[in-house]
Symmetry: C2
Subunit: 550 residues, 2 copies
């Protein structure tokens, strides 16, 4: 049994889980009119407010205390301080973890190994935002002098999901050139994106720290071919390609001017990089002022995370509630339900953020853990999900916690229709919590004119067990500040869980072997004489036989 499981605080939570075997949210709300007030927190940040309602969880006041004690026992405070101080908490790669520095808009210096990194961060950001503004206002033109109408971001993983999620989320604030994202090495992704684009007015952003990522560089070369053949000049690349990278040599060899390379640092993990130069497609879309508001929202959450006591600390509370379900109730997944069509890519971003960070099976000491770690993250925007998979959330046998995310108002669209959206969001969390008994279902059917016998037959099918947990995150509106705040909220929720489990949330060795094997298999697809491993030989032969003329 690991040290974590042996902790008295962990054992106390095991006992609490048993003590709550008869707990039901319906009874809890009926018994206690103050439940919402006890289990919700309202945070003022900038000129806005955010509410975390966690009253619809299988907890009592005592449970929360025990979870907070676990956090203290795991020295969460020390872990938070270590990150903000720039310690090398990514121990397997011996790196600091300082995405918080990218949005630290305070006057405090941030000294890492003797150097204040903040001037360097500000300088690269200024260069990046300056280029974004020049593209937006037409001072930057293409090879033929044409203004840029379309920007294509070539990147994958963190160089794609984060900026794409934000660009989609802030679509109502988008007033620059159109922004497209191409990530997949599937050649159809680039081909179909370029249909209808004009090389004269298209700018490509190549986002790859090493400038060697297979997918990104394969697409970048194909894009360069398209551009050069469209414009008839090799030299056109200098006006149509910029790089977000640290590999100056490869960037120059590709045909990108040094002035158009924007660096970031080894203390910025891919899944935390949208706040860096990797955010350029966001900045081109919404402009400097709103990009800074995005950073300010994230910084406000950072300050809250760094300073608020744990009992009022939003990412701490969310992280601990996740641990409660994952480790004590056996929940294998967490559903994300943003009630906003513009947050359509939020769950996909969180999939990387959470699962790449905490999908780990060894702890910091290299011991195989004897408990679950990160959950599967999944979800689609509400109300869409209600007409699809909510059936399983409501009536399936499995316990799946849900995060509802909704805005109080919609600045650009019809307010009455927005209220229908909000009512649906609140109705789902209430329904999951309260349910409907078989007796109630039966009585309703009989009141509706059904025979007693038929009502009896159908009642079990129309019963809702309830007692299904959810959080509701209520914001005023999904503006740049708030979207920055929300994104950072989940980053730190992931941090909290990693700290509880004692794992390294900042490496990603699990992606390495696949790359290695893909590189080994690629030649075998072109040449049947190249030997392949036993697990791949059969499917490669099948692939060959299915190809035309194969």
């Amino acid at each position: 049994m690991s040290a974590l499981i042996r902790l008295p605080q962990w054992q106390a939570l095991e006992a609490e889980r048993r003590a709550l075997a008869g707990f039901h949210l319906r009874a809890a709300f009926a018994a206690d009119a103050g439940r919402h007030a006890r289990f919700s927190r309202t945070l003022s940040a900038g000129d806005t407010r955010i509410v975390l309602d966690f009253s619809k969880h299988r907890i009592e006041a005592r449970t929360l205390e025990l979870l907070l004690e676990l956090a203290h026992a795991r020295d969460l405070r020390g872990r938070i301080d270590a990150m903000f101080a720039g310690e090398r908490i990514n121990t397997t790669e011996r790196r600091s973890v300082l995405h918080v520095a990218l949005r630290d808009l305070s006057n405090r210096p941030l000294v890492v190994e003797g150097t204040d990194i903040k001037p360097m961060v500000a300088s690269v950001r200024d260069r990046m935002l300056d280029l974004a503004e020049r593209v937006r206002d037409g001072r930057w033109t293409g090879h033929t002098g044409a203004r840029i109408s379309d920007v294509v971001n070539l990147g994958i993983g963190g160089s794609d999901l984060g900026p794409q999620m934000i660009a989609v989320a802030l679509a109502p604030y988008q007033d620059g050139p159109r922004v497209h994202f191409v990530s997949n090495v599937d050649p159809e992704h680039l081909r179909s994106t370029l249909v209808g684009l004009d090389p004269k007015s298209t700018l490509f952003i190549v986002a790859s720290k090493t400038f060697t990522t297979t997918e990104t560089m394969t697409n970048a070369r194909a894009a360069r071919n398209w551009l050069v053949s469209g414009l008839g000049a090799e030299s056109a690349t200098t006006k149509h390609f910029v790089a977000l990278s640290t590999n100056a040599k490869e960037v120059a060899a590709f045909g990108i001017a040094p002035a158009n390379m924007f660096e970031f640092w080894d203390w910025v993990g891919g899944r935390y990089s949208l706040w860096s130069s990797i955010g350029m497609p966001i900045a081109i879309g919404i402009g400097r002022v709103r990009f800074m508001q995005l950073l300010a929202g994230a910084h406000a959450l950072d300050e809250h995370f760094r300073t608020a006591e744990f009992a009022n600390n939003l990412p701490v509370l969310m992280g601990l509630l996740g641990v409660w379900y994952i480790n004590f109730w056996g929940a294998g997944s967490q559903s994300i339900a943003p009630y906003s069509q513009h947050l359509a890519r939020f769950a996909a971003h969180l999939q990387q953020l959470d699962m790449e960070s905490n999908g780990k099976r060894v702890n910091l000491e290299g011991e195989v853990v004897d408990h679950e770690t990160g959950p599967v993250i999944w979800g689609e925007p509400g109300t869409n999900g209600q007409h699809a998979y909510f059936q399983l959330l409501q009536q399936g046998p499995a316990l799946i916690p849900v995060d509802f995310i909704v805005a109080a108002e919609s600045p650009f669209a019809d307010d009455a229709q927005h209220r229908i959206l909000v009512a649906n969001c609140f109705a789902q969390s209430a329904t999951l919590a309260i349910g409907k008994t078989a007796d109630e279902a039966r009585a309703e059917m009989i009141a509706g004119g059904m025979s007693e016998q038929e009502a009896q037959r159908l009642a079990p099918h129309r019963e809702f067990p309830g007692n299904r947990p959810s959080s509701t995150i209520l914001v005023q509106r999904f503006d740049p500040f708030t979207v920055g705040f929300l994104t950072a909220l989940y980053e730190h929720k992931v941090f909290v869980q990693g700290a509880i489990w004692g794992i390294n949330s900042f490496d990603q060795w699990g992606v390495e072997l696949g790359k290695q094997i893909a590189t080994r298999l690629s030649p075998a697809l072109s040449d049947p004489k190249v030997p392949v491993d036993a697990a791949s030989a059969g499917i490669i032969a099948a692939w060959r036989s299915l190809r035309k003329g194969g």
Copy 2:
């Protein structure tokens, strides 16, 4: 203990699970060069072939036999025959389940309660395809005589996800007007979709069987306002709105001509309706010939499912393998990894298909089940997922089976680049199966120049446990026929699992209560005096306080 769990076949599988405790795919492949051949099936359909490779599963020949015996014990054969014969297998709604009739292109009559339904199906389909062709070739014009350039589908759930998934999947075959999908009641969904569209050349499809779905009708009314105010004439609706519905009265009241209403039937469930009139946006995009190829692909799979012996029956094998992991290995989710950017919405469609069908907690007899049912379905296209959540698949503690879906060739794009995609797909399944031992990781690091001590420290972090199961579905190309085939493959996989569990895969009572409560809460958002339930009062008060001036 339920009758299912007591079955000797179920108990034999429990024993088999224990017998395989020491099984590892690495050893299984090393020991048996014939493993791929034994555990893969190639199916010829139309002029194409499909391979299901299930060799990377925790099974031996004996396991497969036991799973097939379970299928026989649950009378899967009888259940399949009952569906195809039009019996009312949706017992809680007393309905037949006949989406297979929508794509039955054979000459066999399909007599349901004395009537051959096939002429009726063909007649509505012909009308629908005729309208699609008129929109495509410009014979159908808008109120001012302008040709239709954009089609907006207004529907939600099955009236959105299925047609949208297919439209995205077949984007390379799209040669009609642009097709947009608006589902969410979030007013931003419609507002942002209409930006840049011209009322003169926009056609709306209102897809709602009852013509009362809140989301769809709210959006339809907002769309009508946009259209009428844009064109300045109430009567313009007749040339800019068509209905996929059965409620002739409400359709007429909305301002849609009876000739432009296309019906379907109560034996077509929403999540199986893309093959019906609900497929109109697909047909407008790709045209009659390709729409018929889509149906032909699904029909080919239907014929296979109906007639092939279970040991060679693709949906039967896939369904049983799912049961194996869900019920015997505790897998709570199933990841879908289509290696095709155009299949970006495939997992979202399967989420509804699978989770709405099999997210049930009572069996056909109304007894609460004592086992898990449908899994959480989730996933993003490969190779994107590799740079995000594959970390957790490779190195997380949980067991999550993966379906890889990939095409042998890419008809429209660069073949060399497509081979990189294929190599990545095969590499992931091999890596999941084979893994990398700590010794191998250590040796590699030392060979790369690392100190023994550091290699020792990092080895546990760079070990891959392997033995993680996946299927690979390999097709020739993602053309209309194959996409139809694949979609039907998953429909019947879901059917197989529902039959094993003895649940009703065709109702969806779990969506009902949420609608009821939303309708009850909506007035409370406008009027603070309307009483609300205890679980909603707090969050509604918070919502009110967050609104401007609230």
